[in-house]
């Protein structure tokens, strides 16, 4: 899903960039923590999916804090007070009289103050791994001591914007080695703040303490934390749950701190149930996607001919090339299947077709032949995976293709006919497990105009 249009709210004379998406019956303001760049948030499939699921039952509102991302980059004027004013300015600009709040990490300080001070604007409060005091105190001894915090900050700053930085091992251990997430997060850091700005943001935040506000919170409050969160100690949440009158506390399985990594559905479902009284989105989310299967032809024979060692190198080269082309044409790798890939494209299917041509060409340069099968249809989104009949059809179409052939269902053909591609009609076929007969087309040659 692509990012909603960015708009600006005026807080005093400071511009605050915000997004509104979804048309659910309640407003939900998401406070994602220290830094953000709201347009880049949507670039991560995991984040995009998390936000999308929230927006299935809400009108989701998010913004960059002043000093970060697309909002006025004046870190010097950042304070808890301005964070609160800026959030209210965004709610005003979005036309929200009352909104539920969903806060992560540092967002908790702002959410707690908003709920305590402006109960007429806050319908409910959800604190996920949220923080209301940053630093150590004798009665708060699970938080970092000043020297520990300083060391962590310096470590973060030293590797700021580096995809190989160790920050993700704390924030998202289950995906810490995922190159996609690493690249995305590093870019997020670079877009949200320079290293010097980041140091200032963390330093200013080290003194935050809004624990006094907790007893004044009268709106319904849900506190969530993953049991083995490696970034924020679960006692941060226990403290909140003990001090907000009537708060409900739910501990979830998992060790990832980022809410959109790991079992994010469990979080979305808890939030939805708390805010709406039901879990409608436990039904898998669906999206219209173009599904592409690729496969290396005669893999076994080639492996036998050139030997295992060389074959492994060749396979690795092939995988790299396929990923390069997927990135180039904005495809998303779902998983590898045998010696090939399952990938999906949103938006116009022609991007998928161009990608298939590019993959075939790249493979030929490596001395191997691939075949490709494609179909456009409604897919179930299951975590990072996709499923449903549309995926099945694409797999069956692949089965019909010979070496070097790019086959697609009539559905794909119908969406791009009249464009720059030329096709050969391969007749109608029965596809095992799929009702009816299916027209199949072969993408012949290249694109008439260069791609």
């Amino acid at each position: 899903m692509s990012a909603p249009a960015t708009r600006y709210a005026l807080s005093g004379d400071v511009s605050i960039a915000y997004h509104v998406t979804g048309d659910g019956p309640l407003d939900l303001l998401f406070l994602p923590g220290w830094i953000s760049q709201i347009e880049h948030l949507w670039e991560s499939p995991a984040v995009s999916r998390f936000l999308q699921r929230l927006s299935l039952f809400s009108r989701l509102i998010l913004f960059d804090r002043r000093g970060t991302g697309l909002s006025e980059r004046i870190v010097e004027s950042q304070s808890l007070e301005t964070d609160v004013r800026d959030a209210l300015a965004v709610l005003d600009a979005a036309g929200s009289e009352r909104a539920a709040l969903l806060a992560y990490a540092q967002g908790g300080t702002v959410a707690a103050r908003l709920a305590a001070e402006h109960p007429q604007r806050v319908g409910a409060l959800v604190m996920y791994a949220a923080i209301t005091r940053m630093g150590w105190a004798p009665d708060y001894d699970w938080a970092l001591k000043p020297d520990e915090r300083e060391e962590l900050t310096e470590r973060n700053i030293a590797t700021w914007g580096d995809p190989a930085a160790p920050a993700l091992t704390l924030l998202a251990p289950s995906m810490a080695t995922d190159p996609g997430l690493g690249v995305w997060f590093a870019r997020m850091q670079r877009l949200a703040a320079s290293p010097a700005e980041a140091r200032m943001i963390f330093t200013r935040g080290a003194e935050l303490d809004v624990r006094d506000a907790l007893a004044d919170i009268t709106v319904p409050t849900l506190v969530l934390h993953r049991r083995e969160d490696t970034a924020w100690d679960v006692r941060h949440s226990l403290y909140i749950a003990e001090h907000v009158p009537g708060a409900r506390y739910v501990e979830l399985d998992g060790k990832d701190s980022f809410p959109f990594v790991g079992d994010s559905d469990a979080i979305v479902e808890e939030v939805e149930e708390f805010l709406t009284g039901g879990r409608t989105s436990s039904e898998p989310a669906r999206a219209l996607l173009t599904v592409m299967f690729t496969d290396i032809v005669d893999a076994t024979q080639t492996a036998a001919r050139i030997g295992d060692g060389r074959w492994r190198d060749l396979l690795a080269q092939h995988d790299i090339q396929v990923r390069v082309e997927l990135a180039r044409f904005a495809g998303r790798e779902v998983k590898t299947v045998g010696d090939g890939f399952l990938a999906v494209f949103d938006g116009p299917p022609s991007r998928g077709l161009r990608c298939a041509l590019a993959i075939r060409q790249a493979a030929r340069e490596l001395g191997i032949e691939v075949r490709v099968g494609m179909h456009t249809g409604e897919c179930e989104l299951i975590g990072e995976d996709v499923g449903g009949m549309a995926v099945h059809i694409a797999a069956r179409v692949l089965g019909l293709a010979g070496p070097g052939e790019i086959y697609m269902s009539g559905t794909v053909f119908g969406t791009v006919v009249g464009g720059p591609f030329s096709f050969e009609d391969m007749g109608s076929h029965e596809l095992k497990g799929v009702p009816g007969r299916w027209p199949v087309f072969s993408l012949s040659g290249g694109v008439e105009r260069g791609y």
Partner: protein
């Protein structure tokens, strides 16, 4: 002591589905304030974000509103009332909003948190 009450802020302290009937909630608050003022002899002005429609009239408390609804309109109206008062030191502003509280203190008034005030007037009711 004169009281200047941030009306919606006090209403918001009790999540009793007031948002389904904002006008009804405003009428109830004015009713509570009337009873409390009558008992205690307090001089009470309640400020709303915009003039209630239909108007809420009271002979015991003053029902004020910002001339036009808008961002911080009730806050601005409260500050305006404070600044135009010859004796702001005799005024206690009822709000949980720190920002408004700071502005009120700067004008010389004192500040009472909304939830504490709500408990105070509800106790008197019985």
């Amino acid at each position: 002591m004169r009281w200047l009450v941030d009306g919606m802020n006090v209403i918001g302290t009790r999540p009793d589905a007031w948002w389904r009937d904002r006008h009804g909630a405003m009428v109830s608050l004015v009713g509570l304030l009337e009873q409390w003022a009558a008992h205690s002899g307090a001089d009470v002005t309640v400020v709303f974000e915009k003039p209630p429609r239909p108007p809420i009239r009271s002979t015991v408390v003053v029902v004020a509103a910002a001339p036009r609804a808008g961002r911080d309109s009730a806050d601005d109206e409260i500050v305006r009332l404070l600044l135009s008062d010859p004796e702001p030191g005799a005024i206690r502003v009822v709000t949980s909003d720190h920002w408004l509280g700071d502005r009120a203190r700067a004008a010389g008034a004192s500040v009472e948190p909304a939830s504490a005030f709500r408990s105070l007037i509800e106790t008197r009711e019985q």
